[in-house]
Amino acid sequence: MLRLDNVSVSYGGLHALQEVSIEVGVGEFVAIVGPNGAGKTTLFRAISGVVPLQGGQIQYEGRVLSDIAAPDRPALGIAHVPEGRQVFRTLTVLENLEMGAQTPNARKAWPDTRKRLFKLFPRLEERQMQFAGTLSGGEQQMVAIARGLASLPKLLMLDEPSMGLAPIMADQIFEQVEKIHREQGIAILLVEQRVAEALSACDHGYVLESGRIVLGGSHKALMADPRVKQAYLGA
């Protein structure tokens, strides 16, 4: 469904991604782990079209994405839940979710979607008229995910959803993500620093280090591979 072939991205002399190749099949749960600075966020930004590619190609459902402008990609079914949540702080929770449902399909289905999202995240229903900037980290993460789901995506990309959250909260978020995957059959591309959680839930995964894919495989294979630790800690 999503395929990156030898994608390279540079910012001002720095090679953020170097010849990265990744595949996400329909309805699959794919995890990308790797230390800080590895280029994980850059990867998502490239898929969303916010940064240009220096080399390689991104294909989605057979189409080459570079032909499609960034604001048009959500309409294809790609939802991006950004790093650090990036909720609209000066909009209410409800308005945030509404903004997630701006693609033509999603707008028609919004009333139903809204009900479903509140069922999935009852806490958000309680706080729907609150300004998103006043919520806790965990609640903001829920808003960000719900906002992503509001566009009725086929591929949900999550960038480090556990960052900055207390472990219990992070676990809860994680469970929600797994639940969404199971119940709705949406493909998930998850970037995480918490390796075990990410790898145990995924169908297959990759390890990204210094802009390169250094390892890839099924979750069982990666969990047992000592090179994963090496990617993070150098030895």
Partner: protein, 318 residues
């Protein structure tokens, strides 16, 4: 000084301050809208005001709106039409001039992107002012209606104290309130208004939602121009204008926006009202000529002492 006269003066100043303040408020809303969405300080906002005045005059006199609908309603409708005209002008100006120097790459940067925008809008201001001089000539104009020079007399306290409510200004104030209300509804309730706020809040996340930030910016710029133009058209009914008139109001607009808090659109409205009150009340104690200087001084004080204004950046609605 006779106590009655004193009270009368104060009440009159208060009334005029509120009325004029509302109109200033609408002007400020236009400027604030552009700033909050695009992070651009539009030096040419005064010229949008000016264009609104001339456009309103054109509609009123040339197109005959005034003859058709009578002076009172005609002037109001002419102002609204001026808004539409300037909206179109604003959209074109955005596409031609501003899009290259603003947008996703620049939105949100608090340091780097400024100067090209500021100098560009400064150039635009000069161009419009002097282009206006060439196109319209320098003799002052107004939309003269019988309302401009007549007033309702309102006895207060039933005694010898009367307030004179200048008709043109009062009507303008009422229309202003209606327009400001409409803008508030648009921004807070409508889908496009929410999209504007989202793009203002976080342009990158907005792009991830499929919101076209460029479109949002264009809408903000055109609408901001139109709002100030409508205010201009209304002001034209009681204040003589010429192509440089923008300069007389630009500091009012900046002061109002900064006072209201630079990120807040509706806060700017309150900022404008406050400036109007300060201006009119200052005439009680200061000579007429220092009126404008007072506003400047207030402006400088706000910037130096409390730059976040009354409502600051993270303000809620209205």
């Amino acid at each position: 000084m006779n106590a009655y006269v004193l009270i009368e003066n104060v009440l009159q100043a208060l009334y005029t301050g509120l009325v004029v303040g509302c109109i200033y408020g609408l002007m400020c809303v236009g400027l604030a809208l552009i700033f909050s969405v695009m992070r651009v300080i539009n030096f040419a906002q005064g010229e949008f005001l000016m264009l609104g005045m001339y456009a309103a005059l054109f509609c009123f006199a040339q197109i005959g709106v005034g003859a058709l609908l009578g002076p009172g309603v005609g002037a109001v409708v002419a102002s609204l039409l001026a808004g539409v005209i300037v909206f179109a002008i604003g959209a074109i100006l955005y596409d031609v001039l501003l899009r290259p120097v603003t947008g996703l790459s620049v939105a949100g940067t608090e340091g780097e992107g400024h100067y090209p925008q500021l100098t560009l809008t400064l150039g635009l201001s000069l161009l419009l002012q002097n282009g206006g001089l060439i196109a319209f000539g320098s003799s002052p104009q107004t939309i003269r209606t019988p309302l401009s020079s007549s007033a309702w007399e309102l006895p207060v306290f039933g005694q010898d104290i009367s307030l004179f409510l200048n008709k043109a200004r009062t009507v303008a104030c009422i229309v202003t309130l209606a327009v400001a209300f409409a803008v508030a509804i648009f921004i807070n309730r409508s889908r496009h208004g929410k999209m504007l706020r989202a793009a203002a809040d976080n342009a990158e996340a907005a792009t991830y939602m499929g919101i076209r930030v460029t479109r949002a910016h264009r809408l903000a710029f055109a609408l901001g121009a139109a709002i100030s133009a409508i205010a201009g058209g209304l002001v034209a009914t009681y204040y003589p204008f010429q192509p440089y008139v923008g300069l007389e109001f630009i500091i009012v607009m900046y002061a109002g926006v900064v006072l209201g808090g630079m990120g807040s659109v509706m806060g700017a409205f309150w900022g404008g009202i406050t400036i109007g009150l300060v201006q009119q009340l200052s005439t009680l104690v200061l000579p007429q000529q220092l009126q404008n200087a007072t506003i400047f001084v207030v402006f400088l004080l706000i910037i130096l002492l409390r730059p976040q204004g009354l409502f600051g950046r993270n303000v809620e609605r209205v």
